[in-house]
Amino acid sequence: MARRRQHLGRVLRTPLGISSAILLAVVLLLAVFAPVLWTSKANAIDVVSLLQGPSARHWLGTNQLGQDIFYRVLVASRLSVGLALAATAIGVGCGLVLGTAPLVLGRAAGRLITSVINVAVAFPALLLALFFAIIFGVGAQGALLAIGFASAPAFARLVRTLSASVAGLDYIAAARIAGVSRLRLLTRHVLPNIRETLIVNATMAAGDALLSFAGLSFLGLGVQAPSYDWGQLLNDGLQGIYTRPAGALAPGVAVVVAGLAFNLFGEALAVGLGVSAQNIQVGTLGKLRSALAAAATRSRAAEPPPSPSETAGAGRVLVVSNLRVSFPGNVHPVRGVSFSLDRGEAVGVVGESGSGKSLTALAVSRLLEDAAVVTADRLEFLGRDLLRTAGPGRGGAGPGTAGVMSGRELRRFLGTSAGLIFQDPMTSFNPVKRVGAQLAEVAAEHHGLSRRQAAGRAVDRLRAVRIPRPEHRARQFPHELSGGMRQRAMIGMSVMGEPALVIADEPTTALDVTVQRQVLRLLKSIQAAGDMALLFISHDITVVGQVCDRVLVMYAGKIVENLPAGGLADARHPYTRALLASVPSMETSRELPLAVIPGRPADPASLPAGCAFAPRCAFADARCREADPALVADGAGHAVACWHVDRVLADDPPPAAALTADPESAGAAPVSGERA
């Protein structure tokens, strides 16, 4: 409920929202109170002033019975708005019954009803309304039923579509397995999850119904004298429009204002609720997808191979120094990350969700949404600055900024020199293009292969990522491939060219072990063959240890340990050790409970003072809670950010005891808990 209030608050904060809400409130208040206050005035017959123009006594003049048009317009609001709302209620009601019937009745009856809805939707609503008006007879009641039933098919279709999409979700399946009845499924699970869209559409439909009523009454098919609504008044007034325009214009204006009130409020609701559905992650993914598409399509002209600048060390591919990413609202998911990658080197980034590892990769590939603020002392790829782009508006690159590219050049440069593999292959492919064509496109654009050669290479890459019958698969669309297949095709796409760097963000998380191993081998083969650098992001420290030369362990947006992959057994940071201990292996004892890390990952929006891991750490003391330890390297390329390396190595206190905590602790401990 609190969430709904929040939504409404957001709707009301926009200028459109607040003004349409006020307008709607005025219309509704008029509909409620005008007849109570002014009916006698509106119906009073003034025989001395028939058919008069506006005057001090009758602001908008009088009709042929000498009744005051101004008051009649006000009083007519109840009937007009009331009928519109009643018709909408009929439409929504019928729509709900028809639209949800397939869900309740089961497959065969459902299919029949869906077909009926589809046929009914095909008829124009106005035609239906006229048809019903004739069946139900001329009059307010007939018009009400006519307009109500005429709007039903559209609602039925809407409800059907919305409920079908919700009905496919796991929580519906779970409720069904729990024995929840179909009717209850509908009322408890389906309807609450589609109601916002329904409310928005119903509000707008009420505005439409209002206009339809005015139309029918105007044509003489709706409200009949002596009752009157705006349409009827309009009809009355029209006869004298040349002599007394106010009589026709006033009800017309009323119809427009009330119609606008409903439609604009519906519009504002839609905008408000639409915004609420988004969050940072969705935004990131959307941006990412479009950026990826942009990278694939825009970089048509092949870039000359970039010359490494003198400042970069020989063979240095990527230099990242003090990289920070922040989001509005004082959220700092990446807080000063530094590392570098040499040609042919594989570096892994490990951490739990929320550790900032994926954002680091996105920041490096410049694919973060605009809301993210990315800063760094250095962010260089093949010797060229990725952070500072020479925008077209700026005064051009001065001396000493030879590596500076324009935004467009940057995208081309990244598109040709870096390959990207993402976690979710579904969003990375264009759903309406064949898989092979999408792969071939990359090769054709970046490497000037002919169509035939490119298609051949696409099939070759699909085969290389162990997709059975690659010639056949290349002709299929992404949705025809299984999730694992799609991810393999995605990996194939990233290595279509010969990139200097491949950034792989959880590339094998969705794959089973055999395919994972094959894919990792493939990555390693291509890496070796092309002398390519690999930035490998994963939550699985075992896999990272198998694939990479060096491992960066991230926690709460910082690198807490940087060590050679071969030295994982000698990890020094308590977090790294806990991560290693918590992964069950083929040798884990089946008798003991698995080791877990107590508490929850740090929240980037509210980080504790000092070491962010301290609340979950068995070694933490007062110093850890006050000061954040810096990453200190020893001579052998092993760097740790911990105050207590000596105690950790001496196992004091033994981490095994501390980490084999009760199962409650995994999720239950507060982030800032005193568990240490």
Partner: protein
């Protein structure tokens, strides 16, 4: 304690030319009070078996029996399932308590307060703090959601639980805690369990028996120790060889290819 038995179960998706046999005459027994781990690659038909057992898909042939009788589809549901993705398996508009209470059987006979009390007991049983019942899924972490999903499954007082990749969407640290909980509950409540996972290390930790599925068929099954230590089938050996092991390296194959593993199943047909 109940026995879940799949007898010659065949599940087909689509029809005619596009028909796809997801499970092909599968025979599988989950003995009373034991955990059977079902392993195999994605698309091998593991989840299809689970969905057939709980009635989400209808088998084209064969039967699924609980203690020798067809799985009841009315009243108390003795067969419950926990899904892979805790972000999709809880209704975002219901509190954790409501989700669990809803699954308590005996609608009409058990009062609202009785349901709430049961929901509170179950959330406590799965190790969640008391306030959790009033929270919406969005306010819970992945591990906490999966605990709520477990509590919901337990609300049906099941004899058999099907766990379909329940830890693969979780972080490793959370995975350990959820696995500990699953094992504890299974032993305490003497549940029979079909534990589906593509992670052999996880299956090895939880399961008493292991069944290996490939392209809709069970290619090997037996006691966990035997299957994992002394596999009889080439495909099982291949699966075992692929498990990531700490301290080992994956390197580029010498010839630049990765084709020395053919991916051919023992006796299986690659179409």
């Amino acid at each position: 304690m109940s026995e879940l038995r799949f007898e010659q179960v065949t599940v087909r998706y689509g029809s005619g030319r596009h028909a796809h046999v997801a499970a092909d005459a599968v025979d599988l027994v989950v003995p009373p009070g034991h955990v059977v781990g079902l392993v195999g690659e994605s698309g091998s038909g593991k989840s299809t078996l689970a969905r057939a057992a709980v009635g989400l898909v209808a088998p084209a042939a064969g039967q699924i029996l609980l203690d020798g009788r067809p799985v009841p589809r009315r009243g108390r549901r003795p067969l419950q399932m926990v899904f892979q993705d805790p972000y999709a398996s809880l209704d975002p508009r219901m509190t954790a308590g409501e989700s669990v209470a809803e699954a308590v059987p005996g609608r009409g006979r058990v009062s609202g307060s009785g349901r709430r009390a049961e929901a509170a007991r179950l959330t406590d049983l799965v190790g969640l703090p008391p306030g959790t019942v009033d929270k919406f899924p969005a306010e819970l972490s992945g591990g906490q959601r999966q605990r709520v999903a477990l509590a919901r499954a337990l609300a049906g007082r099941p004899d058999v639980i099907i766990a379909d990749e329940i830890t693969s969407a979780l972080d490793v640290s959370t995975q350990g805690a959820v696995l500990n909980l699953v094992r504890e509950l299974q032993r305490e409540l003497r549940l029979s369990m079909l534990f589906i996972s593509h992670n052999l290390a996880v299956v090895r930790y939880v399961a008493d028996y292991v069944a290996v599925m490939y392209q809709g068929r069970i290619v090997e099954h037996g006691p966990a120790e035997r299957v994992l230590l002394d596999p009889g089938q080439a495909y099982t050996r291949q699966l075992l060889a692929a498990v990531p092991r700490a301290g080992t390296r994956i390197d580029a194959a010498a010839d630049g290819g990765d084709d020395e593993e053919t991916g051919q199943p023992p006796g299986g047909s690659v179409t």
